[in-house]
């Protein structure tokens, strides 16, 4: 304790650079965003204080609530799908079946592609004009049931969720696989000797032993989904009729196309608050001890 008191200036000197950078790059923009959310821009150069008007506009906007709904559906769906597929594929790789190294690479390839490229690939697949889906459906005799996914408000978000899952699932496969590889072999062997196999093995041994990885994947996915922008922007631009407009895209359209910066900052604050609440909630789960 004495040493700490003696070296208070050294400690401060260590703390100051990082703190300054943190304040400038993190806290200042957040504060700035709160301030800007109370202004309205009459022209590009002149703005005026409007108090909470922008907040009222946001909460009264049907498009905001539509974006909020889209974001929640997107967040839950991509997380669920990625956990399910990541876990399953990661487990299959863990079992080291024939050719597992090849599949490991195949599963990971979409992850290294930029989101913009992924957007173009899936656009091409779905395209009614020159895509792969339409001829495929015709080939299996379902031509009359073909609906261009990105043109249908009911299907567009699902189509984007599939593309997002395809793009990001590789990381979850690797994460789950590395988690499985760290499971104590002797425990798994004992379970095998005791007769555990198949679903029983997964339910009673693999899931509990890899619970930390599952939690991490859920947290990464949930927070990541909240800020998804590029893939949706490339694939649909938020359409048709805002049916794929997520909160970050709603922010973008209002801030940079409508030039309603105050409104956009309110959305930014809402995303920030949601991310904080989610992180805190997840943190609470994280602090719970592992099942084993």
């Amino acid at each position: 304790m004495n040493i700490t008191k003696k070296n208070i200036w050294v400690i401060l000197a260590f703390l100051v650079p990082g703190s300054l950078i943190y304040i400038y790059l993190v806290l200042y923009p957040i504060g700035q965003s709160v301030v800007l959310s109370t202004f309205k821009w009459d022209t590009l150069a002149s703005s005026r204080f409007v108090g909470l008007d922008n907040y009222r506009s946001v909460f009264a906007s049907q498009l905001f609530w539509k974006s909020m709904g889209n974001s929640l559906v997107f967040m839950v769906s991509t997380t669920l799908l990625q956990v399910i597929f990541g876990f399953t594929l990661g487990y299959m790789v863990y079992l080291q079946m024939r050719g597992y190294r090849f599949y490991k690479v195949v599963f990971f390839v979409p992850t290294v592609l930029p989101s913009v490229a992924v957007g173009f690939i899936w656009n091409y697949i779905y395209s009614p004009g020159m895509g792969l889906l339409k001829p495929f459906m015709a080939a299996i005799g379902q031509a009359e049931n073909y609906i261009p996914p990105l043109s249908s408000p009911a299907l567009a978000l699902i189509a984007v969720i599939i593309a997002q899952t395809w793009n990001s699932c590789g990381v979850q496969v690797i994460l789950f696989n590395s988690g499985f590889m760290n499971m104590p072999h002797e425990v798994i062997e004992s379970a095998t000797i005791d007769g555990a196999s198949g679903i029983k093995m997964i339910y009673h041994m693999v899931i509990p032993l890899s619970w930390d990885i599952i939690k991490m994947v859920i947290i990464l996915q949930t927070v990541g989904a909240l800020r998804s922008f590029d893939l949706v922007y490339v694939m649909t631009g938020g359409g048709p009729n805002h049916s794929t407009e997520l909160l970050p895209l709603h922010l973008f359209v209002n801030s940079f196309q409508n030039f309603n910066i105050g409104y956009g900052n309110v959305i930014a604050i809402i995303i920030f608050v949601m991310a904080m609440l989610l992180t805190m909630g997840m943190k609470k789960i994280m602090y719970k001890e592992s099942i084993y």
């Binding site: 650079p17 009614p128 261009p148 631009g237 009729n241 196309q257």
Partner: protein
């Protein structure tokens, strides 16, 4: 003890080093920028004094690689580089939708491009804040007599504000066209529609043949031109101007201004099956290809389309295309039957507050870009219609391009497309919410109008 002292000294030394690195980093950056801006303005002044010190110009255009104009602008810049080695030009080519967003963001940030392609509605917002130069003094300057020779009063008036400022140097003129595939029309014995009733009557005949009557880039929100045509045909020029330019900015739901009729007509088009299934998932490029493959019979948009059709289907396909005016509405007494969508809605601005020499260099660059020498060859290749007065070789031009140029030069009146005249928020509400919402069936006419009305009211409240 000694070791503790050494540790302390080392710690202090490291922290000092980190702090100095941090602050010197900031300082260097500031110094660099000072040097850099100092050198730019210095260069400009020197250049003004006759020295050939370097001048850096950032140019933004919507002429992206693959377009007819892209090769021409790159060739012009190459020539410029040889003739004026002291002027370094960086060319940012972006699709027009992205360019508009970038323009707005950069203007707000105070770092606009020095010279940029721009659409009228955006230039109107920029000149309110003096972000771009007023061209009126340039046109009256004896040093630049060419502008008055190249552009008619009508052209200049299009880009003139109420207080007499000229926002841009005109460059691209445009006129709308209902393009149709003549080979297909001849084969099936169809006539290009002159009235809206004929248009509606034609739709089932086209569909019978398994062809889509009309196609557009729904995913890209390509409804701005159609919105203008529907509104002008429904309500006429005065009502159109009142709604879009501000006299009746919040009157979109008022039937007397005609937007209700316009949306009713659009609903009739949708109900008749004018668009193919999935049009909202189709980009403009895909729509062009569908038209070029003969899977769609008609296409409605501006005069740049023949260039896109050439990319999609080659010259052979372009030679099969012809245009007619958008069909007239016989049941709308206030509607204007002659007005065309188009006019001089696109030009080039120069950013304000540039050092004198740089400003002069930018004006000279714009003079090259808006000159007949630069534009006529592009027009002859079907890139767009040039806004200025210039002869061109009709034999080099496709039949549809000749039709467009003649229609443009002979038009009695114009209205700009919705994205070139309405406030951006209202334009977006029309082309990204109301019209797509009607196509998906989520909105009826009243709901679509309400969406536009709300956007207009929000915009008006902010003013």
């Amino acid at each position: 003890m000694i070791s503790q002292k050494i540790k302390k000294v080392l710690a202090i030394a490291m922290v000092t080093a980190m702090l100095s690195a941090t602050f010197s980093g900031c300082g260097t950056s500031k110094d660099d920028s000072a040097v850099s801006s100092g050198s730019a303005s210095g260069a400009a002044s020197n250049s003004a004094a006759g020295n050939d010190e370097p001048v850096d110009i950032r140019l933004m255009t919507s002429w992206t690689a693959g377009s007819v104009a892209y090769e021409s602008i790159e060739a012009l810049l190459e020539t410029y580089k040889k003739e004026k080695p002291n002027v370094k030009i960086t060319h940012d080519a972006l699709p027009s939708a992205d360019l508009r967003t970038k323009l707005t963001v950069e203007m707000a940030a105070g770092t606009p491009a020095d010279v940029s392609w721009c659409i009228l509605s955006y230039a109107r917002e920029f000149i309110k804040d003096d972000k771009i130069i007023d061209w009126a003094p340039v046109y009256n300057d004896p040093k630049h007599p060419e502008f008055k020779q190249w552009f008619s009063e009508v052209s200049l008036n299009f880009a003139t504000t109420d207080d007499g400022k000229i926002m841009m140097a005109p460059q691209e003129g445009s006129i709308d066209g209902l393009y149709y595939n003549t080979e297909m029309f001849t084969k099936y014995g169809w006539n290009p529609p002159q009235t809206f009733d004929e248009f509606l009557a034609l739709i089932p005949k086209i569909k019978e043949k398994g062809i889509s009557p009309l196609v557009t880039g729904g995913k890209d929100g390509r409804f701005a031109w159609l919105a203008s045509a529907l509104l002008a045909r429904s309500a006429g020029l005065d009502n159109f101007n009142a709604l879009t330019l501000g006299d009746a900015m919040t009157g979109w739901k008022d039937p007397k201004y005609g937007f209700t009729d316009a949306m009713n007509k659009f609903k009739q088009m949708i109900d008749a099956g004018a668009y193919p299934k999935g049009v909202l998932g189709m980009s403009a490029t895909e729509a062009d290809q569908m038209f070029a493959r003969g899977e769609a019979a008609m296409y409605y948009e501006g005069a740049w389309k023949p260039g896109n059709f050439a990319t999609a289907g080659g010259d052979e396909f372009v030679n099969k295309i012809a245009r007619v005016d958008f069909p007239v509405f016989t049941d709308c007494p206030n509607g204007d039957t002659k007005v065309n969508v188009g006019g001089n809605i696109i030009g080039f601005f120069v950013a304000n507050d540039l050092p004198d020499a740089k400003r002069e260099a930018c004006i000279n660059l714009v003079k090259n870009i808006v000159s007949p020498e630069f534009n006529v060859p592009i027009m002859e290749k079907g890139g767009f219609v040039y806004a200025g007065n210039a002869d061109y070789d009709k034999t080099k031009v496709s039949p549809v391009m000749n039709q467009l140029i003649e229609a443009y030069r002979g038009a009695t009146s114009y209205i700009p497309s919705m994205d070139a005249i309405a406030p951006p928020a209202v334009d977006l509400a029309i082309k990204q919410t109301a019209m797509p919402g009607m196509i998906t069936g989520e909105f009826d006419v009243q709901r679509a109008i309400a969406e536009v009305q709300k956007a207009a009211e929000d915009y008006a409240r902010g003013k």
